[in-house]
Symmetry: C2
Subunit: 125 residues, 2 copies
């Protein structure tokens, strides 16, 4: 029931309201969202969503995050072209984390590598 490729936990067919109802945002109104490549299964990045970003992701099926540094919505790839088409959207058992399975265009990381987790931390950039 939980094998990779299984769609039982996929909430993408729900309405934005129904998806939002399953999520518990933190005190800042945010929830962490993990993007995983739907084909390679590589974990690409972790970013944050507010309610508006989550609604936009469900509606457009393009991964949309909230930039904490810029304090604004951020459609992934809007400027770089490295967008994420969302194949599945999952929420964890406590409702306080989101998992996106995505079709990633180009590299996910702003450093030019496939995954942000290939870089090795803040001191090695």
């Amino acid at each position: 029931m939980s094998a990779m490729g299984d769609e039982a936990g996929d909430l993408l067919a729900l309405s934005p309201n129904d998806v939002v109802a399953r999520v518990r945002f933190d005190a800042a109104g945010l929830v962490p969202a993990v993007a995983q490549d739907s084909t390679s299964r590589q974990v690409l990045m972790l970013a944050w969503m507010n309610e508006e970003a989550l609604r936009a992701t469900v509606t457009t099926r393009r991964a949309t995050y909230f930039s904490r540094s810029r304090q604004s919505l951020w459609v992934k790839g809007e400027t770089s072209g490295n967008s994420q088409q969302v194949a599945q959207l999952r929420v964890d058992c406590d409702g306080d984390a989101v998992l996106l399975l995505v079709d990633q265009q180009g590299p996910a990381c702003h450093t030019g590598v496939e995954s942000c987790f290939d870089v090795g931390g803040v001191d090695v950039r």
Copy 2:
């Protein structure tokens, strides 16, 4: 260079001090940590680490988190037996997220399913 199974981004051979230096903890002293099954590549859960939990994870190679609800360290599987042996530890490009590749004993989720992302959110428990 970033293919699954590649170990270039794995920091597990570093000292706890060197790993901690690559991480930026948030205002509460925490960093989100994603656990991914090293074999199936399924994303199992998202939890949180403080510096002590991160050091313990590097030292023991057993995934150790910080429980925000209990405000204490939490060695995954200590009571349930469903522990996580850490095969790789990665940090993202901004140093504000951790990725563990783990050998998961039993189900990762307290609901008894393999992944916390199989459950579908807070309203369906």
